[in-house]
Symmetry: C2
Subunit: 362 residues, 2 copies
């Protein structure tokens, strides 16, 4: 088992990574205020892992309720969130009870936002069961739901008390979702860890083959990068924004296609190619490093081109992005692999040209 800590003073919390950590009741008990939890999961994950988690908790006298959401980004909205509130209120959950998110990024974001706002905040635990949520969304306390006009537009910062990343849950993950998770893994290499990027280049086949040792290493190095960034900048006033590499383009893809059509990781992959392309066009990222970036994303089986929405539509959707500051679009670009920076006031014509160059031919 690997263990990391997100250092945030009296709100610091551990991340445990490894085979079978899902029902580490010692860690869960240490995180609870009272022996009562509500497990939020979805209808795909519930048949796989809910019974095991409930049995483990009940064996140590923790009372469990569960709320099962429909699966998918398309349900990351207020209506679905409200089913969590309904369950908590019907069960008379109070401020001392704990919410456990068991599932992927959508479950984690919604359960986290429910925990952030139920009675103005209750404790929660993340048990991510997808690669994407294990390497990214379960760590750092960002929670949200979507609005028809934009992804993750309604949300809160609310840190979990514990993250349990059980690598054995990845054996049941569909191939497409494994690859989507690898997009965020590659991201850490691109923004701040060139040695990790090299390691991924060397080990991408092992990762795609789901070798447990390789997956454990990738998750640990990803979470270590994420934990350090979150410790430095919890509420994204500075360095944390680098984690949005590819995300502004990616959000435009997700919103433009309708949430749930492209997986988040797929959209981020194409978005990172667009960001790298723009970085190259502006003379910051060398052609060689741009090619390495595109090649690794391609070898992972992720899209290296975005859907042909038209550059104007991309720019319109990007204007709704949360990274917009005082009306100025801010983008994370690359000076090199492992060296990202935030830029504002980039020429729209260059952004549009990069988008056009990285979209599917019509």
């Amino acid at each position: 088992m690997r263990k990391l800590t997100v250092a945030l003073g009296d709100r610091s919390y551990p991340i445990l990574i490894g085979e079978g950590v899902l029902d580490r009741t010692d860690a869960i008990l240490a995180a609870l205020k009272t022996p009562r939890v509500a497990i939020v999961t979805n209808d795909v994950v519930a048949p796989l892992y809910l019974g095991r988690l409930e049995a483990a908790l009940r064996s140590v006298d923790v009372a469990c309720d569960s709320v099962i959401l429909p699966d998918g980004e398309a349900h990351k909205n207020w209506q679905t969130l409200n089913t969590i509130f309904d369950g908590l209120l019907a069960g008379h959950f109070d401020r001392s009870t704990t919410l456990i998110a068991l599932g992927g990024g959508v479950v984690g974001d919604m359960a986290g936002f429910a925990a952030a706002t139920y009675q103005r905040g209750i404790p929660f635990i993340q048990i991510p069961t997808t690669l994407l949520s294990q390497v990214d969304s379960s760590v750092g306390g960002k929670t949200a739901i979507n609005h028809p006009l934009g992804k993750n537009m309604i949300g809160a910062f609310h840190q979990p008390r514990l993250v349990l990343a059980d690598t054995s849950t990845l054996t049941t993950l569909p191939d497409r979702e494994l690859k989507a998770g690898l997009a965020e893994v590659i991201k850490y290499g691109l923004i701040r860890d060139p040695a990790f990027f090299d390691w991924i280049e060397t080990n991408i086949e092992r990762l795609l083959a789901r070798e447990p040792q390789a997956l454990g290493e990738a998750i640990e190095r990803s979470c270590a990068n994420k934990a350090r960034i979150v410790s430095e900048d919890e509420t994204e006033r500075g360095v944390r924004a680098l984690l949005n590499l590819g995300h502004t383009f990616g959000h435009a893809i997700e919103a433009g296609m309708g949430f749930g059509v492209w997986l988040h990781g797929e959209a981020v992959a194409a978005g990172m190619v667009m960001a790298a392309c723009l970085s190259n066009r502006l003379g910051w990222l060398s052609a060689r490093q741009y090619e390495r970036t595109v090649a690794l994303i391609g070898r992972t089986g992720l899209p290296v081109r975005g859907p042909k929405l038209g550059a104007a539509r991309y720019l319109e959707l990007m204007a709704h992005d949360k990274k917009v500051d005082a009306g100025r679009l801010r983008l994370v670009l690359l000076r090199d692999i492992g060296d990202a920076e935030i830029f504002a006031d980039l020429p729209a014509v260059e952004i549009a040209a990069a988008i056009d160059a990285c979209c599917e031919p019509s």
Copy 2:
């Protein structure tokens, strides 16, 4: 003009109280990150004060949008909240823009919760226009919406950057709402300020006659009490819970009658009588002080009895209250006027008896 400060480190903020402070653009400008605001108000307040505030802001080059909500507690729900999000997103509001709540407690709670969760948090300013919101809800950062199963069940702690309490707005306040606000004024005397309670007893006729000097004094002393409590305990882990005197009973009245039938302050008034009655029955509050409490609430024209829902129904509704901790109902009771304390595990039969004694005859 009177000025107070809520001391919360780098999130400290001023409260300005006085005639005409509504359009103190110097204070507003100092609180903005960028010169762009969205004013959230309702259809009763908008015709009275929105134009004046917009004109003042535009005269100092602040761009204003506005979102006008339907008036009333019955609209304090997700659907109404979403109209704020719609307006912010349609106007391309970003994280640097500021939300201004112009209105009573419902507007402040909803605009505050929108500010807490829009893009995971944007700055906001409170301009309360009712006595209740000036003395209580605009200060301290509690924001929320209601759920059919409970009042203020979904919310967040999100401190404003400025509170402007313009006493001249109270001239347009309906009598019933003025009295509802006085319930919270009396509360401060009861929980921690016996000298203030004496002052209210002496000056209640001046307050009911809306003498500006008396209202200014009552608001300042109320806010000073509130500010000190919030500074000591921002997220209600301890002393802040004393502010809930009468509120657990009161929430049961509001929920039991349907939100909006009883005003919040009216329900709190009857709830404070119940709490005082229970305190007396348990031997903590003397008969003399109990009588003073009931007499002052009665002289204010506030209800000294609750609706006849039946004690069992009260207890059921109270079990949903946020003050419930680990399944134990906690109530704020009085040892004396000016000396409140939190009690758990009180005998249900005594609570029921106090409720029955303080309800309208059938």
